[in-house]
């Protein structure tokens, strides 16, 4: 593992809420532990800013809802800020899932009809640096 790889791993871990990571592959071993101060300050930014779109409620994820066409969940497509990505059915309430910023849809982590927690990452979007 070279320095840039190590940096990439650190940046990735920093973008999550993981506190400690062990990694082993052949002869290579890697142990990363976040210090309290670092994790709470949150000043370090990953080089590639992928942002998670979190579920706004606890409920069932839907790509469409009556009267609306289903949302396009093709990975790689461009998104506008506030664009609908789906809905959460919380009892009788239906709450929209919206893109928090303009960017590119990178990963879809959810399927139609799945139960989701509040705050659960549903999508990862790539946001241009500086946004």
């Amino acid at each position: 593992m070279d320095l840039s790889q190590a940096k990439q791993i650190i940046d990735f871990i920093d973008s999550t809420d993981l506190m400690e990571v062990y990694w082993e592959k052949g002869q290579e071993r890697f142990h990363f532990k976040k210090s309290q101060e670092l994790s709470s300050s949150g000043t370090r930014l990953p080089s590639k800013p992928w942002r998670a779109v979190a579920s706004p409620a606890v409920g069932v994820f839907r790509l469409g809802k009556p009267g609306y066409p289903g949302c396009d969940d093709t990975e790689g497509r461009d998104l506008k800020k506030g664009e609908k990505l789906g809905w959460i059915e919380m009892g009788r309430k239906v709450i929209p899932v919206e893109s928090p910023a303009a960017g590119r849809l990178r990963r879809v982590l959810i399927q139609e009809g799945e139960a989701v927690h509040y705050g659960q990452p549903l999508f990862l979007i790539e946001v241009p640096t500086g946004v």
Partner: protein
């Protein structure tokens, strides 16, 4: 009969209820807010659902989110704990309509007991003594009518919110001059805190004790009364120390209190666990105060002194099982200290943060109900109760001795706590002799002459 219970609460009571469910072989579902991700209750439950952000209005008070989690997890019953939605009849109704068993009283019983004015009329009609005061509550009242009413009851007076609880919307008035201002302030406070500005007047008793009777009623209408708890040590109407039995209650008075509590319970057609609160005058006269239609914070005192697991009883009642027939016996004496994350030196300001050291006491007759562990971070969103220390012994002296040792042993660092105040209370001679009243803590330890400071709205909590 339900097999899976969703616990619609957080903190130590969620832990307590989950333990009772496990004892009964029931599966448990925890719910939590984002601020409670580290909390112990979600680790003890069979599954846990994050239902919203930190503020309780969007999480622990959000009926839709809780019912959504219940549906997704397949829970068949909901235990509301105390505080939050535990005394909310709309929540109880919403649970029933969603096909869930609400582990608590019926909606009708919650409504009747929750409205203090209605409960008072019912108590009086059933021969239970009440403090002299107005019949029913008033939303608006002319100044002349108010003065006339106050004079007929007699000063000093308490102005109370009909929908009240937790010490909000309450004012003490000692003479006619301050009456109107206090009435208006209390009305505003009640409107802000409960969305209902209705008020009523009541004579203020000097130096009363707070005694309460735990009741349990099954679905067939059988009512069981437990020995009294004495909760006279309070600060701003928030209980600090509770004990059972009361040093001021004789066996004869206990029977009268229990009979009165059962009459009130039957009058509101009560089912499940509840508590009937009374004021006890220094002369030994008691007056009905209110019914709390939920499990109470201080329930372990009764558990320790009778050997009965109240939460298990509560769940069994909700399952429709008939109530125990064995008589309730007093096995000794028990005392509870509520440990809060607050700084007593700084007017009890909340002290959230990381608990860097946590060494709770243990041993025979020592119980600690808590959700805290070393490294836990006390969130700032909720009430500041972090642990309940309950000690019991064969008599009051031995229970107090155990409590003294346990409090000495208890070590907490990283946050401020009320441990020091509890140690001081136990050293106090008047307390040791059992000579206290509801204004005692403020008078002896906080140098306040009038125990009725204005109270700012905070998180709803019993």
């Amino acid at each position: 009969m339900f097999k899976k219970v969703l616990v619609a609460n957080r903190g130590e009571i969620a832990v307590r209820v989950i333990r009772a469910c496990r004892r009964l072989g029931l599966q448990t579902v925890a719910i939590y807010s984002e601020a409670d991700r580290e909390s112990l209750h979600l680790r003890l439950a069979d599954e846990a659902w994050c239902i919203g952000p930190g503020p309780s209005a969007q999480s622990y008070l959000c009926v839709e989110a809780i019912l959504s989690a219940a549906r997704l997890s397949g829970a068949q019953a909901v235990h509301p704990g105390y505080g939050f939605l535990s005394e909310n009849s709309r929540f109880a109704r919403a649970c029933r309509e969603a096909g869930l068993v609400f582990i608590g009283p019926t909606e009708e019983a919650i409504e009747k007991s929750g409205n203090k004015a209605v409960a008072r009329v019912l108590a009086k009609a059933n021969g239970v003594p009440v403090v002299p005061g107005t019949e029913g509550a008033f939303r608006t009242l002319s100044q002349a009518a108010l003065q006339k009413l106050a004079a007929s009851i007699g000063y000093p007076l308490m102005i109370k919110a009909a929908a009240g609880g937790g010490g909000r919307g309450i004012r003490l008035t000692r003479d006619p001059r301050g009456l109107l201002t206090d009435w208006e302030t209390a009305g505003r406070e009640a409107q802000a805190a409960f969305g209902d500005g209705s008020l009523y007047l009541e004579r203020y008793l000097e130096r009363p004790r707070h005694v309460e009777i735990q009741i349990a009623a099954d679905l067939e209408g059988r009512v069981l009364a437990f020995p009294e708890r004495d909760c006279s040590l309070q600060r701003k109407h928030q209980k600090l120390v509770e004990e059972s039995p009361s040093p001021a209650v004789s066996p004869r008075l206990r029977r009268s209190l229990q009979e009165a509590a059962c009459r009130v319970a039957r009058a509101v057609r009560y089912s499940n666990l509840g508590t009937v609160e009374f004021l006890l005058s220094p002369e030994g006269k008691f007056y009905f105060m209110e019914v709390n239609s939920r499990l109470q914070v201080e329930h372990p005192v009764t558990e320790m002194v009778t050997g009965i697991d109240l939460v298990c009883e509560q769940i069994r009642i909700a399952q429709g099982r008939p109530m125990r027939r064995r008589p309730v016996k007093i096995l000794g004496h028990a005392i509870e200290h509520r440990i809060n994350a607050e700084n007593p030196e700084r007017n009890f300001s909340p002290s959230p943060g990381r608990v860097s050291k946590w060494r709770p006491p243990a041993g025979q007759g020592v119980r600690v109900d808590t959700h805290v562990y070393e490294g836990y971070c006390v969130p700032s969103y909720y009430d500041s109760l972090i642990a309940k220390l309950i000690c019991c012994g064969k008599d009051r002296r031995s229970a107090l001795a155990r409590a003294r040792n346990a409090l000495e042993e208890f070590q907490i660092a990283g946050i401020d706590t009320t441990l020091s105040l509890h140690r001081r209370i136990l050293e106090c001679e008047a307390f040791q002799r059992g000579k206290v009243h509801t204004g005692f803590v403020e008078q002896e330890f906080l140098n306040h002459t009038v125990p009725m400071d204005p109270i700012l709205p905070k998180e709803p909590h019993p």
